[in-house]
Amino acid sequence: MFTPSHFTAVLLFATCTSVVFGITQRSTPKAMLRYGAFCWACFVGVVIAASWVMYFIKK
């Protein structure tokens, strides 16, 4: 059984999902790359932000 850490799971999910979003939502390779990177940063950024929020709520 594959048991990644929570953050590794986030990175895997964000990477695979961003590739699909980038390719399907834009037309040119450059725009695909930029949009894919934007989606990836949003996924990971929101998770990190939410984690800190939960940390301070628990405190």
């Binding site: 059984m1 048991t3 695979c16 590739v19 390719i23």
Partner: protein
């Protein structure tokens, strides 16, 4: 003096074939619709991304939803899983994803599988748009 110029009517020399082919092939095998339209790099990247997500979900002991369990949430999960096309069929046939979700990784894995199916729906529609010329 105006002159009449006769332009011969364009004859359609090549038929586009079955227009939903890319949609169906793309649904059955992730990225195959893009390969069919000649977008090799896009097709291979989509195949790698969606296939990885699906099999990572299976490796994390994610659950494959059955079609008609009576529970509305499980039926919605099935709609997502169904997007995986042949992977879902093969997984069900060889008995993968039948273990009840009991760990956090299995829960993540179940979500990975559902999202892989939904992403494959988007990918197949994109392949269809490429085939009919709606997208460049």
């Amino acid at each position: 003096m105006a002159s009449k110029v006769q332009v011969p009517a364009k004859t359609q020399d090549s038929s586009p074939g079955f227009i939903y082919l890319a949609l169906i092939v793309g649904w059955l095998v992730p990225g195959a619709g893009h390969l069919l339209t000649g977008r090799w790099v896009r097709g291979l990247l989509l195949f790698a991304a969606i296939t990885s997500l699906f099999w990572l979900g299976i490796a994390m002991q994610g659950q494959l939803y059955a079609p008609n369990t009576g529970d509305i949430l499980e039926m919605l999960g099935f709609v997502g899983d169904f997007g995986n096309g042949l992977f879902y069929a093969v997984g069900r046939m060889i008995g993968l994803g039948q273990v009840p979700v009991q760990t956090v990784w299995a829960d993540y894995g179940t979500k990975f599988i559902v999202v892989a199916g939904l992403l494959n729906f988007i990918s197949a529609v994109d392949a269809h748009n490429l085939r009919i010329g709606r997208k460049a």
